[in-house]
């Protein structure tokens, strides 16, 4: 009787992959419990991902974020990843899947759920992806392509190994899926992480969480001033990609531009840099709507009152620069959409004392590998997980937020093949040999 009521109350969920249907939560839970694990980086899974990437590249014309995704998971890249993965194993260590991975991707970066799912499915795991209820052209295209490719007979294994679904306002579904998880992947900021952590996971399981982060760009001002027009133009375009692809609201989108050099050098560089950026923005037809413009204006005025911002440089609705009087941690909500704090440092090393745990990506221009290593060693883990050139802020790879995602979705089984008895016998036979 009790069970009957409990079952009746279990909510329906909208399954989106492997095919679109409304299902009871219980049937989804059952399907996951019976889903097969795959061998890590099997030919089957690589073939599936490569077909998906190929088809996505063809269908996502004019969507640069999806093109980047498709390029990142093209066949050659998948094979390179397999080599890297195989290199992690040794004669004594075999990498095996963790089991069930429950992904909670962010609502608004349309491609993260694919990156998260891909690294896990390649490692052979069973995957449950809770999609955001916000349907965008990008996510729907990705899901359509995934569904079509999975429907091909040769990919049947994949269709039973992953469930992507949507459900609303429902603790029950999150609780049930969390209970099955061997790994839970929580994207989307402090609040989401705290909210999801209210639901327990099995004792052996762990959370891979991606909380709120912020990112910055560091440019050697003197170096910048010596660049020719072409190079500056190129940098402005690369920086545009970093900052504007996700309306500057991605964890890796730079919010702060730090100029390293003298006051005069930095001012000159900043003026040219943001003017060039403004013209790139208009050339790329990136426009903010009126609500966003007012939001930015309000944000800028708040920053004047709350932060060390003494000036609002409103180039246009799309590019707003907020110079900081001195380096300080800029905290709180962020409005994005082309709002840049700006600060100056005398030397790169000065940066180290201002970086905190929240800082994720540092984009650089005008520094050598040695200088960047020196900075990392000076930081000694206090902050910064990625140091990449301007233009690569959003380029996803296996190393994210300090984790190696290639390994995170696997367990290591240690094997020692030689037994004591074997060793004893070897020794004995050695001794026998001596005696002869």
């Amino acid at each position: 009787m009790d069970t009957g009521i409990a079952l009746a109350e279990l909510p329906a969920v909208d399954v989106r992959f492997p095919r679109r249907r409304t299902a009871s939560l219980i049937s989804v839970v059952d399907a996951i419990a019976e889903a097969p694990r795959l061998q890590p980086y099997s030919d089957e899974v690589i073939a599936f991902c490569a077909s998906f990437a190929h088809e996505l590249a063809r269908r996502a014309r004019g969507m640069p974020e999806l093109q980047a995704l498709a390029f990142w998971m093209r066949k050659a890249e998948l094979l390179r990843m397999r080599d890297e993965f195989c290199a992690l194993g040794t004669a004594n260590v075999v990498l095996v899947p963790r089991g069930v991975v429950f992904h909670l991707p962010p609502a608004n970066v349309d491609t993260i759920f694919v990156y998260s799912w891909l690294l896990s499915v390649l490692a052979g795991n069973i995957n449950v992806v809770r999609l955001s209820s916000r349907e965008t052209e990008q996510t729907e295209l990705i899901l359509d392509v995934l569904t079509e490719v999975a429907a091909r007979t040769e990919h049947a294994g994949l269709a039973s190994n992953t469930v992507m679904l949507r459900y609303r306002h429902d603790g029950q579904a999150t609780a049930a899926l969390s209970e099955m998880a061997d790994v839970r992947v929580i994207w989307g900021g402090d609040e989401t992480v705290a909210e999801i952590r209210r639901f327990s996971i099995p004792p052996h399981a762990f959370d891979l969480s991606f909380p709120d982060r912020s990112s910055l760009t560091v440019i050697n001002a003197q170096h910048y001033n010596c660049l020719d027009d072409d190079a500056r133009e190129f940098l402005a375009e690369r920086f545009f990609n970093d900052a504007y692809w996700f309306d500057q609201l991605g964890c890796s989108s730079p919010r702060l531009v730090c100029w390293v050099g003298s006051e005069e050098c930095a001012q000159r560089a900043a003026r040219v840099f943001f003017e060039l950026l403004s013209s790139v923005v208009s050339r790329k037809s990136y426009k903010v709507d009126t609500a966003t413009a007012i939001n930015k204006l309000t944000y800028a005025y708040r920053a004047v009152l709350d932060q060390q911002v003494a000036e609002v440089r409103w180039l246009d609705n799309e590019v707003v620069v907020l110079p900081l009087e001195r380096f300080e941690a800029v905290s709180g909500e962020f409005c994005g959409a082309g709002t840049f704090y700006q600060v100056r440092c005398e030397r790169l090393a000065e940066l180290a004392s201002h970086v905190g745990r929240r800082d994720q990506t540092l984009c650089h221009e005008g520094y050598s590998a040695d200088e960047l290593h020196e900075l990392t060693i000076a930081l000694n883990g206090r902050g910064i997980d990625r140091i990449v050139p301007v233009g690569d802020a959003l380029t996803f790879n296996r190393f994210w937020d300090g984790n190696d995602l290639l390994q995170a979705f696997t367990r290591r089984v240690f094997i020692a093949a030689r037994s004591d008895l074997g060793r004893y016998r070897e020794k004995a036979s050695d001794r026998g040999g001596e005696g002869r």
């Binding site: 900021g189 991605g250 004047v304």
Partner: protein, 355 residues
């Protein structure tokens, strides 16, 4: 003093050039006043220097959202008389507007000047299209309560037409109308209450409200599903009840007293002591007559807080200039509605609300 002069002279009686000249002079003075008396305001103007002010559209403005995050104040704490807060659903931040006695008194005087223009000098029997409980707890200044409370002064023998379940007190209403059958009657309520709960319950009843003056406010945002705009609202009331004297008004807690009220031409008109400027949302320059843009409101009333020039989050257009000789001078404003919500992406803002 210019402000007193603007308040005393008959409302809507000024020719536009004279009105703007008086306002510019007074708003310049107020800008200086707030700079001297509010360190926050001074810091803001240093960050965004306004340049020389010779025209109304050069008066610097603050975005209305700033009053939600910051308590902006231009008087010593000991002079704070009361603090107004805006309405807001749970979790939303509300504006906090600090008043001293002078500013509060000026707001009252201003509203009286506007209402006298519409209602005449005597108090009228008044129907409040709301429930009595909306004003019961005077300590919680909800915007609806404050709005009703502010209007009560302009009527007498108050009758609340709705009960707690938003049901019409039909018997009471009929008795009220019978009792004051020779009087002009004031009706006041929030636009969505008037339409959704009052009009829908009386439209078939053949009630005669032709002696009524309806004053309503609050905007059309709760009425998107009802397909009603100002024109339809007026038409429906006239057809069903004979009520033709309808005055919508547009105002906000950040500038209490400086409301724009609907004139005989169907447009909103600003009083002598306030003005609206429509701004192009890309260039932020003043938009030409007829184009829709973001509404900026200026008023000479606020001295206790730097709210004399505010960029709202509403869209509107100036359709022309009214005729002072006809009783409705000032710009003819049409409020189009709230600016549509922003659609942004990003990692933050995710499932927390829906888990």
């Amino acid at each position: 003093m210019i402000t007193d002069d603007l308040l005393r002279r008959p409302q809507y009686s000024l020719e536009q050039p004279e009105k703007e000249a008086l306002l510019v002079a007074e708003l310049m003075r107020l800008t200086e006043h707030h700079r001297r008396n509010s360190t926050q305001y001074d810091r803001l103007l240093r960050a965004v220097p306004p340049g020389e002010i010779t025209r109304l559209n050069q008066v610097p403005f603050l975005p209305v959202g700033l009053f939600k995050s910051h308590r902006l104040i231009s008087i010593p704490e000991r002079d704070v008389f009361k603090t107004l807060t805006s309405s807001g659903t749970t979790g939303q931040q509300v504006s906090r507007i600090v008043l001293d006695r002078d500013t509060a008194a000026r707001q009252t005087q201003a509203l009286a000047a506007i209402m006298t223009h519409v209602l005449g000098p005597t108090r009228l029997p008044m129907i409040i299209v709301d429930t009595p409980s909306v004003v019961k707890d005077r300590k919680t200044f909800s915007a609806r309560g404050a709005g009703v409370l502010g209007m009560l002064t302009y009527g007498r023998n108050h009758f609340y037409a709705l009960d707690e379940e938003m049901q019409l007190d039909r018997v009471g209403l009929q008795a009220f109308l019978k009792k004051y059958c020779d009087d002009t009657i004031l009706l006041f309520g929030f636009t969505f209450m008037v339409w959704k709960y009052f009009f829908q319950q009386i439209r078939e009843s053949g009630l005669d409200l032709s002696r009524g003056v309806l004053v309503h406010s609050g905007g059309w945002k709760g009425l998107a599903d009802e397909a009603v705009d100002n024109r339809e609202f007026r038409r429906a009331f006239a057809a069903a009840t004979g009520l033709t004297r309808v005055h919508n008004f547009y105002g906000m807690v950040e500038q209490v007293g400086s409301v724009s009220i609907e004139g005989d031409d169907g447009y909103l008109h600003t009083p002598n002591f306030a003005e609206v400027i429509i701004r192009d949302p890309v260039t932020w320059q003043e938009a030409p007559t007829g184009s829709v843009g973001v509404i900026q409101v200026v008023s000479v009333l606020p001295t206790s807080y730097p709210g004399h020039s505010i960029l709202t989050e509403d869209l509107g257009a100036v359709r022309g200039i009214g005729t002072p000789s006809g009783g409705w001078g000032g710009k003819q404003l049409e409020v189009v509605g709230r600016i549509p919500k922003a659609e942004l992406r990003g990692c933050s803002d995710t499932h927390a609300a829906e888990a």
